[in-house]
């Protein structure tokens, strides 16, 4: 243990005297996180706004209720702008030109179909370049038609149970009561990507993990450098266990990684008043993440024979994992296939964990799957790295 600490301390001293290591560990992640966060504004949900064209060819009470009470209701007040139109062809043109996110076309006879129990539908013209706005439009139309069908079913059921016709006043009262019992229509979390996530909350940890790849690679490459410069044989000739060399270097990478994360959390927390969530969950997730990235980099470094080779492997690994794991783009805004691939990366799991802690109020108990996956990465890659380091001399 003493030898591990001696080697770790020596390595830390060397790294802290190296300006490029300071830049990689502290300045770069903070700087990039600031820039990327600024590019995304205050967050991702605030940026969602859509303009919808509405062509009401029915002009009935039921169709007007959709335009005025659903689209124009208080729940969409800040996000949705309505552009009433008369001609479906003109609406289609607006959608094609990208002037509106989507168009609703309520066909003639919509109310009559509803009243007579026939299938009633609202057509949504989607703008393929405004995927989220189109998805939201479909969800709103679906919600409204479901609401109508539910009301109609409720009235019909009451009539059947009664077995006799109701007087007109009672029937109107029943229909109104059913309609008032609304199925809620609102923006939904998940597939359409409108989760409320602030830029700093996401990109702070994203960039810290990204820089962690460089920080750990920097320390791990020193093993090859020592072999090339001749200091490694001298250390191995000393009365210390061979494993203490690798563990000492790993310890210095671990400390540097943790300090890098802590600085990031503190600076954003103090300067931008960012709330990171449950501290215990944050600490445990960070420790596991640093260990996993260290493991990956140890594999990259112990497999290489030259510093140049090690750097090339580490760079390819870093960029691939950063792209797949959501370091550059928020995971929940990536295509489905990319979201699935992100489960294969420790940084993908880590970023899910950080956003869960920050936005869903997740605690340590909620991070079971995240920690299990990240720890598995750490154990497998770290074990492989230590096994391969037996031949470091």
């Amino acid at each position: 243990m003493r030898a591990i600490l001696i080697i770790a301390w020596k390595d830390l001293k060397q790294r802290l005297r190296d300006r490029s290591a300071i830049v990689a560990a502290f300045i770069a992640p903070l700087g990039i996180a600031f820039i990327v966060s600024a590019a995304f504004g205050g967050g991702f949900v605030d940026s969602f706004e859509a303009t919808y064209a509405v062509v009401d060819q029915d002009q009935s009470v039921v169709s007007k209720a959709f335009t005025e009470q659903v689209l124009g209701g208080p729940q969409f007040e800040e996000q949705v702008t309505i552009r009433p139109m008369k001609d479906p062809v003109a609406a289609r043109r607006l959608v094609a030109s990208g002037d509106v996110g989507a168009a609703f076309v309520i066909p003639p006879g919509f109310a009559e179909a509803v009243t007579n129990g026939r299938a009633a539908s609202i057509t949504v013209l989607r703008n393929p370049e405004a995927e989220i706005a189109s998805d939201v439009a479909v969800a709103i139309a679906d919600g409204y038609t479901t609401q109508i069908n539910a009301s109609r079913l409720a009235v019909a059921t009451t009539l059947r149970v009664q077995g006799q016709p109701l007087d007109p006043d009672r029937l109107t009262e029943l229909a109104n009561a059913s309609a008032a019992d609304r199925i809620p229509i609102e923006l939904v979390d998940g597939e359409v990507g409108v989760r409320e996530v602030s830029g700093v909350n996401y990109f702070g940890p994203a960039m810290a993990v990204f820089s962690l790849f460089f920080t750990t690679a920097f320390v791990a490459r020193s093993l090859i450098a020592e072999r090339q410069e001749g200091t490694l044989p001298r250390v191995l000739a000393a009365p210390v266990p061979r494993s203490s060399v690798v563990l000492g270097k790993a310890s210095s990478a671990f400390v540097l990684g943790l300090v890098s994360f802590t600085v990031m959390f503190l600076i954003f927390g103090l300067l931008l008043d960012v709330s990171w969530g449950d501290p215990l969950a944050l600490v445990v997730l960070t420790v596991a993440t640093v260990l996993a990235v260290m493991g990956l980099m140890t594999v990259a470094q112990t497999g290489a024979r030259t510093i140049e080779g090690a750097d090339a492997v580490a760079q390819v690994m870093t960029v691939t994992l950063a792209l797949l794991g959501g370091s550059f783009f928020p995971i929940f805004q990536m295509p489905e296939i990319m979201q699935r691939l992100s489960y294969l990366t420790p940084n993908g799991w880590a970023l899910r964990g950080y956003t869960d802690i920050a936005y869903d109020g997740a605690t340590l108990g909620d991070l079971g799957p995240h920690l299990a996956a990240i720890t598995a990465f750490a154990v497998v890659t770290g074990g492989l790295g230590i096994w391969r380091s037996r031949k470091i001399a």
Partner: protein, 343 residues
Amino acid sequence: MATARKTTKRKPAKRKPAKTSARRAAISRTRIEPVLSCSGLVKRFGDRTAVDGVGFEIAPGQTYGLLGPNGAGKTTSVSMICGLLEPDAGEVIVAGMQVRPGATKAKASIGLVPQEIALYPDLSGKENLRFFGQLYGLAGKTLAGRIDSVLEVVGLADRASERVDKYSGGMKRRLNIAVGLLHEPKLLILDEPTVGVDPQSRNAILENVEKLTAEGMAVLYTTHYMEEAERLCDRVGIIDEGKIIAEGTRRELTAKIGQRDRIELTGNGRLDHFATQAKRLKGVHDATVGDGTVQFLVRSGREVLPRLLEVADRAKVAVTSVEVIEPDLEAVFLHLTGKGLRD
């Protein structure tokens, strides 16, 4: 012939001091437990056998020279002796303990000065010493005292706080040695410590080694510089292609090949007559007259020289200079292998 010319430049004053010879004699009279004992060392790398059955012993206060050209197997032997490489066969015992890569206790008795400068350039001289001292279990005042002491020995006390990358090549070499001395090892292994060193630093290094052996440290010294082996080593093992092909003191080794001393005498007068007279002396095998010089091939230069000068006096030859050239290890190596040490 070229070998002989190199030898003539050697100054007799740099021979081992008498005190060391006496100590050597004492060592040979009484059986002292060797600090290093290795036997039958074999190391193969694929199909190539780098070291093939190397074995020797070093007593306290003795310097053993492993002399051979580059690639002869010196560094591989050293790597096995200090526990960096696992031998394929044979064993190494240092201070009564078997040395293996995992044998930390045995390694504590060994000080290694590798051929390459094994220092951290971004740390100061003192920080390098502190780091390696700590690895050898030194701490606190003991460590501080030892650091001051070795810095004094290698003459770097006033530059200890500077970063090593600011040092000259010679200073780095001296610090490289200081690291090996830090924990006062029983066995000091110096693997080609003077490669690329300026003459002044080289002399300082050799003087340090002489001092250490005088204090009782056992030293294993590998080199391909014949002059260093002759100056420092009590015994020499000549290694080539992984095998020790001859071993002994310098005298024993040169005697093995039956070479004789040469005396080169420069003077004025009847040199032909002098050469003819001198040839009749016991121990003189041959005499060749050149331009103002006579070269004698003799059994022992030290024994023959006084009588030779008497003959010169009788022959009315005014002697202006005399040089005794003893057979050297380079000649031995050449004789045994058919190639030079620097080939």
